[in-house]
C-alpha cells in the first residue's frame, strides 16, 4: 500500500494492518517498510493500541527511545517466549555474582600476599585498566571496600538473589543513570516490600522447579535488522556466549544458583549479609 500521492512504501505497521499509511502515522518513523518481522513481534506482545497508548504518555523527545525499548522487549519475548527480558536480567545478575565472587577471591589473595611480604610495595602502572582497580593503589582492603560499594548499586530483579536486597531499600543511586528515567531499585521494593517476601519465596521455589530456561526456550529467528538500541546492550553476542556457556554447565549452575538463593531465604539472608559485613570488617581491621 503506498502513501497517498507519493511513491514511498507504507510502514511495516500499516503494511501488517493492511491499511493506508498516512504522513501522520505515529508508527511510521519507528517501523520502516522492511521491518515486518520486528513489527510482528511488537504487535504480538503489545498490540498497536497499547504501543500507541504508551507513546502518548511520553514526552515527544523520548518516543524514539521508548519505541526502541518496546522493540527490544518484543524481540526478547520472541526469542525467549517464557522469560523474555527477565531471563536476561537473571543471567546478568548471575554473571555479576560470579564476577564479584571471583573479584573477592582475587582481592583476598592479594591481601594474603601483602601479609606474607609486607615490605614489598605494589607497583601500579598508570594505564587506565589499572586505574579501574584503584583500590589496590592503597591496599587490597580498600579494593575490598570498593567491591562492597559496588554491591550496593545492583538493581535487583525480584526473584533472583535476596542477599543483596536487605539494606538497599533507600539511598540507592546509580552512577550513570542519565538515560533511564529512574533507578531499578523500585522493582525490589515492589516485590519484596509489598509482598513481605511471599512472592519472592514463591518465585524462588518456582525458579528451583522450572527447567533450565536457557537451554530449552530460545526460539531463533533471523531478523533483517535489529535496531541498535543502547550502545551497551548486546542482545546477540551475550546470548551466543551465554547459551554456549550455559549449555555446558547450565543445569548444575542453575541448580547451584537456585539452591544458594533458596538457602539464604528468610532469616538466613540477614545472616549471610551480616557474615559478609563481619568478614569485610575483619578484613579491614587486619590491614
Amino acid at each position: 500500500m503506498t502513501l497517498k500521492g507519493g511513491t514511498s512504501q507504507a510502514c511495516a505497521a500499516c503494511k501488517y494492518q493492511r491499511k493506508r499509511c498516512t504522513p501522520e502515522c505515529a508508527l511510521a518513523p519507528h517501523f520502516r517498510p522492511e521491518h515486518t518481522e520486528i513489527f510482528k513481534n511488537a504487535h504480538k506482545l503489545f498490540g498497536v493500541r497499547k504501543i500507541l497508548r504508551i507513546l502518548e504518555k511520553i514526552d515527544p523527545s523520548q518516543k524514539t527511545e521508548a519505541m526502541r525499548s518496546i522493540i527490544y522487549q518484543a524481540n526478547m519475548r520472541d526469542r525467549f517466549p517464557v522469560h523474555g527480558c527477565l531471563g536476561e536480567i537473571y543471567h546478568l545478575q548471575y554473571q555479576i555474582r560470579q564476577a564479584e565472587k571471583e573479584l573477592y577471591a582475587v582481592l583476598s589473595h592479594l591481601h594474603f600476599y601483602k601479609q606474607q611480604s609486607p615490605q614489598q610495595e605494589i607497583t601500579i602502572d598508570s594505564s587506565p585498566e589499572s586505574q579501574l582497580g584503584m583500590g589496590l593503589q592503597q591496599s587490597a582492603a580498600n579494593g575490598l571496600t570498593l567491591f562492597q560499594h559496588q554491591q550496593q548499586f545492583l538493581p535487583v530483579a525480584p526473584f533472583f538473589d535476596q542477599s543483596y536486597n536487605n539494606n538497599n531499600h533507600s539511598g540507592i543511586h546509580f552512577d550513570s543513570m542519565s538515560n533511564t528515567g529512574n533507578d531499578g531499585m523500585w522493582l525490589q521494593q515492589t516485590y519484596c516490600n509489598q509482598n513481605d517476601g511471599k512472592t519472592l519465596v514463591a518465585l524462588q521455589s518456582q525458579l528451583l522447579n522450572t527447567q533450565p530456561w536457557t537451554i530449552q526456550e530460545e526460539v531463533t529467528h533471523d531478523y533483517d535488522e535489529i535496531y541498535p538500541f543502547f550502545d551497551t546492550i548486546d542482545d546477540t553476542q551475550s546470548y551466543i556466549d551465554s547459551k554456549d556457556a550455559n549449555e555446558s554447565s547450565s543445569e548444575s549452575s542453575l541448580k547451584e544458583t537456585t539452591q544458594s538463593v533458596q538457602h539464604v531465604a528468610g532469616n538466613k539472608l540477614k545472616r549471610a549479609e551480616l557474615q559478609l559485613g563481619i568478614v569485610s570488617e575483619d578484613y579491614q581491621a587486619t590491614v
Binding site: K44, L45, R49, K50, I54, K57, A66, S69, I70, Y72, Q73, V82, H83, G84, C85, L86, G87, E88, I89, L92, Q93, I96, A99, L103, V106, H109, L110, Q120, T123, E129, S130, Q131, L132, G133, L136, G143, Q150, L154, P155, A157, P158, F159, S176, N179, T180, G181, N182, D183, G184, W186, L187, T190, Y191, Q206, T210, Q211, E217, T232, I233, S238
Partner: protein, 120 residues
C-alpha cells in the same frame, strides 16, 4: 496455583474483565483474586487477549514463569514508560563490563605481585 479456596470465586482476570470465570479459564491459575493489581498491570501494558494467546503457545508447566515475567515487565513499564525493564538490563550490562575490567586489572596486579614475590 489455586485461585481461591472458594470454588466459584472468579480469578482476578475475569473479575477485572467482568466476565464469568469458566472452568478452564486460562488466566485463573496465575491470576488469583487476591492480587488484582497483577492482572491489571499486565492487561494495561499487554492486553488480555495478547496474554491469552501467549499463554496458549507455551507449555502448561512454563506458563506460571511466563505470567510472572510478564507481570514484572508490565510493572517495569508502568514505572518507567520510556525504558521499562530494559533500563535495568542496560545498567546490569554496564555493571558486568565494569566488573570484568576490574577483575582483569586485579588479576594483572596479582600476577605482578606474585612475580615480585618470586623475585624476592
Amino acid at each position: 496455583m489455586a485461585s481461591s479456596s472458594h470454588p466459584s470465586a472468579p480469578c482476578a482476570a475475569c473479575k477485572f474483565l467482568r466476565r464469568k470465570c469458566i472452568q478452564g479459564c486460562v488466566f485463573s491459575p496465575y491470576f488469583p483474586p487476591e492480587d488484582p493489581t497483577k492482572f491489571a498491570n499486565v492487561h494495561k501494558i499487554f492486553g488480555a487477549s495478547n496474554v491469552s494467546k501467549l499463554l496458549n503457545e507455551i507449555a502448561p508447566h512454563q506458563r506460571e514463569d511466563a505470567v510472572n515475567s510478564l507481570a514484572y515487565e508490565a510493572e517495569a513499564r508502568l514505572k518507567d514508560p520510556v525504558y521499562g525493564c530494559v533500563g535495568a538490563i542496560s545498567v546490569l550490562q554496564r555493571q558486568v563490563l565494569r566488573l570484568q575490567k576490574e577483575l582483569d586489572a586485579t588479576n594483572a596486579d596479582l600476577i605482578r605481585f606474585s612475580i615480585q614475590d618470586i623475585d624476592f
